[in-house]
């Protein structure tokens, strides 16, 4: 039986244009989901604002000894108080936060850079080179890096110790972590199809590294960088707390060390060690939150566990 279908009139309505949310909305939405990244960035921003705005306002000379009346508790004139050596702690904190951040970013940046270069060389070219780099990393990892840093910083002439040598001391033993992380990532990425396609289409090694693999590794590199800054920050703090920092500078760890050598808590000058300790808590806390957030961003597998 033949049935004739009634002619259907399909009116093709112009599809209402799909509203692609703007970039800012997308970023905003992502941050609402990834709260630890958001909170970490906000704290970091406040800290940066504090030290940048602060440096426009304060007199940097007051961050050094014998510039103001000593041992004053926080007051209207000295909102953060002053210490035993006659430093205005507000000025010291503004400058110290900046220097502490500088050490972290320098050491973290150099460590990550070295790690990325070595990790790439190791994983991409393989063979003896890979065995050598991996072996050195594995042998150095069980050695407590902090203690070698202590030896290194202790061997320096006290006058030679500056913020930059501090960063250098920290970075000398802080490149193994990123090297191993980047190496393992490159190893998996090397086997992906897009790399094979690039290779078959005649792309050179450098082209594949810079145009194919590196862009895909960017989230991992950023995460490794923030982790490295965090590690460097802790190493610099520990060195300074033991009195191995640039003693003249108002580095946060140095302020803690100075307060500790003068028994600040015993003498009731509680604001002196407390302020740099709280500032360090904020720095490290914000970095830890950013690391947790980036982990989720770079590694969606973590998302499943929530």
């Amino acid at each position: 039986m033949a049935t004739t279908f009634p002619p259907t009139t399909v009116t093709i309505r112009p599809v209402a244009e799909v509203q692609q949310p703007s970039r800012t909305t997308l970023v905003f939405r992502y941050f609402r989901r990834n709260k630890s990244l958001l909170i970490g960035l906000i704290i970091l921003f406040i800290l940066i604002a504090f030290t940048v705005v602060g440096q426009l306002v304060i007199n940097p000379d007051n961050a050094y000894p014998l510039s103001v009346r000593s041992k004053q508790p926080p007051s209207a004139q000295y909102p953060f108080g002053t210490d035993f050596f006659g430093r205005d702690l507000l000025a010291a904190m503004v400058l110290g936060l900046w220097q502490t951040a500088l050490i972290g970013v320098l050491a973290g940046g150099i460590g990550t850079f070295v790690g990325v270069v070595l990790g790439f060389i190791s994983a991409y070219f393989g063979g003896l080179l890979d065995a050598g780099i991996k072996g050195i990393c594995q042998i150095l990892t069980p050695i407590p890096a902090f203690l070698i840093q202590v030896v290194l910083a202790g061997s320096l002439d006290k006058r030679d110790v500056t913020v930059y040598t501090m960063a250098f001391v920290v970075v000398l033993l802080a490149w193994m972590g990123p090297t191993l992380v980047i190496r393992s990532q490159v190893l998996t990425m090397k086997e992906r199809q897009f790399v094979s396609v690039a290779k078959l289409s005649g792309m050179g090694d450098l082209g594949i590294i810079f145009r194919e693999i590196l862009p895909n590794l960017l989230p991992f590199i950023v995460a490794a960088f923030v982790t490295q800054v965090f590690v460097a920050q802790i190493a610099a703090l520990y060195l300074a707390v033991l009195g191995l920092g640039p003693l003249r500078e108002p580095l946060l760890g140095n302020i803690i060390w100075a307060a500790q050598t003068q028994s600040a808590f015993f003498n009731g000058w509680w604001w002196w060690p407390l302020e740099p300790a709280l500032a360090m808590v904020l720095i490290l806390g914000s970095l830890a939150l950013i690391i947790m957030g980036l982990d989720e961003f770079a590694n969606p597998r973590v998302r499943r566990s929530e």
């Binding site: 594995q138 042998i139 150095l140 069980p142 050695i143 407590p144 890096a145 902090f146 203690l147 070698i148 202590v150 030896v151 290194l152 202790g154 061997s155 320096l156 002439d157 802790i234 703090l237 520990y238 707390v241 033991l242 009195g243 191995l244 803690i256 500790q260 808590f265 015993f266 509680w270 060690p273 407390l274 300790a277 709280l278 360090m280 808590v281 490290l284 806390g285 914000s286 970095l287 830890a288 939150l289 973590v302 566990s305």
Partner: protein, 333 residues
């Protein structure tokens, strides 16, 4: 576990110790500082020594350390004396040996770190396991969350905050030192023991609170993957009780990678232990180290660094060798 595996790990251990010894040997020799001369000049300016004493000391140091020999020869002498377990003599507390100074300090450090590491490991893993277990009560799961946030705070800063709030503000604990200044150190008297204990509470708390967050976080992650495993589902279908599944099927398996994590965390544990001791003024390795730093007592610094490296590396390899006893799958592989 094959015998070649054990041998390979032991060779690795020797390599690590050799690397640490070499680094600690060459760094100070490359610097412009001469610790012996510096120390002796310091003593001479203070005028506490007669010149004959000084000459005797210079001579004894020169022969003892062979500082006039070429660097390569010095290096082999150094490695040789290390192999015999000789770490040298303290410059500051002459004629005490480095090993003696370490021996005085180690019991304090060992007791503190052993207790806090074990407690932190157990508490962190239990909290993390409970937080990831779907059938645990809601309040327990929320209880574990703030501990994850502690992860960003190193024990040293935790120590400072505890010092301020607990010891300075609330006056619930002493502000530092290992025992009160008025008391006679006597390990057989109960009063002294209690006094030491009250001084140890804050350092221990700061180490525990400063490290527990990492265990909670990693255990929660492990827990989530483990509870999805087929053997856990199978155990549920067999009708086993909740406690049995939790303890024997879920916790035991989820904790295996954590043991490896413990080995990897040892360097961080020792590092923060050293600095926390310094903050609280405990007479452990940390204080010996910072005293040595303050007095340019280089041989003590290098001795301590080597001692800790050897201890940590040995423990790490030890955990690795013990692992097959915990995990039958590795044993049979």
């Amino acid at each position: 576990m094959s015998i070649t595996f054990v041998i390979r790990r032991l060779i690795f251990l020797v390599f690590v110790i050799w690397a640490a010894a070499t680094i600690t040997f060459f760094i100070p020799r490359l610097s412009t500082r001469n610790p012996v001369r510096q120390r002796l000049a310091e003593l001479a300016t203070k005028g506490g020594f007669s010149s004959t004493d000084l000459e005797a000391m210079v001579k004894s140091y020169n022969t003892k350390f062979g500082l006039d020999k070429p660097l390569v020869e010095q290096y082999f002498d150094y490695v040789g004396s290390l192999a015999r377990g000789d770490l040298g003599v303290s410059l500051y507390k002459y004629p005490r040996t480095v090993l003696e100074l370490i021996g005085d300090a180690v019991p304090w450090t060992l007791a503190l770190l052993l207790v806090t590491t074990i407690l932190s490991f157990i508490i962190g893993n239990l909290l993390g396991a409970v937080a990831a277990w779907p059938r645990s009560p809601g309040w327990l799961r929320t209880f574990a969350t703030p501990f994850v946030l502690l992860q960003g705070m190193p024990p040293v800063l935790m120590g400072f905050l505890l010092l301020f709030f607990v010891a300075f503000r609330l006056r619930l604990a002493p502000l530092g030192n290992a025992y009160s200044s008025g008391i006679i150190p006597d390990w057989s008297s109960l009063e002294f023991l209690l006094d030491v204990f009250s001084h140890m509470v804050l350092p221990a708390l700061s180490l525990i609170l400063g490290t527990v967050g990492g265990w909670v976080l990693s255990m929660r992650g492990m827990g989530v993957t483990t509870q999805g495993e087929d053997y856990v589902t199978y155990a549920e279908h067999k009708g086993l009780g909740g406690t049995t599944i939790f303890r024997d099927y879920y916790l035991r398996n989820a904790m295996l990678p954590q043991v490896t994590g413990l080995a990897l965390a040892l360097t961080a544990v020792v590092t923060s232990g050293v600095v926390v001791e310094q903050i609280f003024g405990l007479p452990g390795i940390g204080q010996t180290l910072s005293l040595a730093i303050a007095n340019n007592d280089f041989l003590v610094i290098y001795g301590i660094v080597l001692f800790i490296t050897i201890a940590v590396a040995t423990l790490m390899v030890g955990v690795e060798l013990m692992y097959p006893l915990l995990d039958p799958r590795v044993r049979h592989a």
